[in-house]
């Protein structure tokens, strides 16, 4: 008879704290980096130079079509053949960021293309420099258009962090595996682990919706945004 008893998990909640911290740390960092790289790569894909565009397309297609597990193995176990031995955290972060960047690129590219050409022309007619153009007109609009997809992608990053256990990062899924193998209470362990992920994702959703209302409300009211 399988007795479901959450009390068996209590001694391991301490290590769970660290696991959650690891998950958050790598997810937040990867998200942040991939947004930056995503915007840059989107601009690369939209650039006027054919070869630059080709590089962008190659990057996105190659990384997007590869399972992240394989990418992680390539970085973690493949690179040492070239003498590049990255730590577990850096390898995991690189894989997660590379993967997320590919998706962010597409999100931002759609965003950029959705901003009507008229905006570019009107701003240039006003005499704005490129930097001003992007900073005050284009990027805010791109951000607003891509907002929902961004939220989904952030959740995607959190989901992706669960594979990082292969790179020896002790995040939540690794905690589930380790704790289960010590006390064999797999069912309880999966329950707690699943709950953690669920709470993390729903929090992102809640924050996104709340933040969205604030940002869009201001825009609708004709504010500077």
């Amino acid at each position: 008879m399988y007795n479901f008893n959450l009390f068996f998990i209590f001694p391991y909640l301490d290590s769970l704290q660290w696991a959650i911290w690891n998950t958050l740390q790598i997810s937040v960092t990867a998200t942040f980096l991939s947004i930056i790289f995503g915007v840059l790569m989107a601009l690369v894909r939209l650039s006027n130079y054919k070869y630059l565009r080709l590089c962008g397309v190659c990057y996105v297609e190659v990384v997007r079509n590869m399972p992240m597990v394989v990418l992680l193995y390539l970085i973690f176990f493949g690179l040492p053949s070239f003498g590049i031995v990255l730590s577990g955290y850096i390898s995991g972060l690189t894989a997660l960021t590379m993967n997320s960047t590919a998706f962010m690129t597409e999100i931002f590219r759609s965003g950029f293309m959705a901003v009507s050409k008229g905006q570019f022309e009107a701003a240039r007619a006003q005499g704005m420099t490129n930097t001003q153009l992007y900073r005050f007109i284009i990027l805010p609009q791109v951000f607003r258009i891509s907002y929902a997809s961004l939220g989904n992608q952030i959740i995607g990053v959190i989901m992706g962090s669960s594979i990082m256990m292969i790179a020896t990062i002790e995040e939540v899924t690794a905690w589930m595996f380790n704790t289960g193998s010590i006390n064999f209470r797999y069912f309880e362990v999966f329950f707690v682990g699943g709950l953690v992920y669920f709470v993390l994702c729903q929090t992102v959703n809640l924050v996104r919706n709340a933040l969205g209302k604030i940002i869009f409300k201001t825009a609708a009211a004709g504010g500077p945004w």
Binding site: P67, Y197, F198, Q202
Partner: protein, 217 residues
């Protein structure tokens, strides 16, 4: 090149990956269709429950679902699950959440006017759904469904963690055998290349189907 000896294993691994993703997709389509239908229901309770289902599987990493099905579900029900069955179920569950969105989008994309026009000719509601709405909706659903197939294919690589010998696991096992000789870089690059080519080809196919859709319409 040592790798030529293993080409048979690699092809078999690829076949297994394609096969399990296909089976999972079919299951996901079935479940997803039901859930997607529920999402468009007039009754709030059905919309709510199906919404919960979709949210649930999109908030749990595939790996966790996989572990749960393989280890936890067997403990719960006492039925032995092979790695193949467990992986298929997990992939199907994950895919069904995605498919429910696809189905919902497809159904909602059929203009309301169609339904009203059909109903006004005296057809019953179920006849309208079956003969007018669904055929059109399915054509709309196919391109995103291809995307779900690619997604499932990528997720199938996680089955390697529970020991199911699909393409990734095959590569890892080959890696162990050749470890003394050449290190794992070559085999990993080969595996990655296979995935990229296959997924890219399938995605292109989906894009072509989408263009045909628009052209026909």
């Amino acid at each position: 090149m040592i790798l030529i000896d293993y080409s048979f294993l690699l092809i078999r691994g690829l076949g297994i990956t394609l096969w399990i993703s296909w089976v999972a997709l079919l299951l996901a389509a079935l479940i997803g269709a039901l859930i997607g239908l529920g999402r468009t229901s007039k009754r709030w309770s059905i919309r709510f429950l199906t919404g919960v289902y979709a949210e649930f599987f999109r908030s749990i990493p595939v790996l966790v679902t996989l572990f749960f099905v393989y280890y936890g579900l067997t403990l719960l029900t006492g039925i032995n699950l092979s790695t193949f069955v467990a992986a298929t179920i997990a992939l199907a569950l994950e895919g069904s959440a995605m498919m429910s969105e696809v189905v919902r989008g497809g159904l909602q994309s059929i203009a309301k006017g169609q339904r009203e026009a059909a109903l006004s000719t005296g057809m019953k509601a179920w006849q309208v759904e079956l003969f007018i709405v669904w055929p059109q909706a399915i054509r709309v659903m196919i391109p995103p469904a291809v995307g779900v197939y690619v997604s499932t294919l990528k997720a199938s690589s996680l089955a390697s963690v529970i020991g199911y010998v699909e393409l990734t696991k095959t590569g890892l096992l080959i890696r162990e055998s050749v470890r003394g000789h050449s290190g794992s870089l070559l085999i990993l690059v080969v595996i990655a290349t296979i995935y990229v080519i296959i997924n890219f080809a399938i995605s292109r196919l989906g894009a072509m189907l989408e263009e045909r859709n628009n052209f026909v319409n």
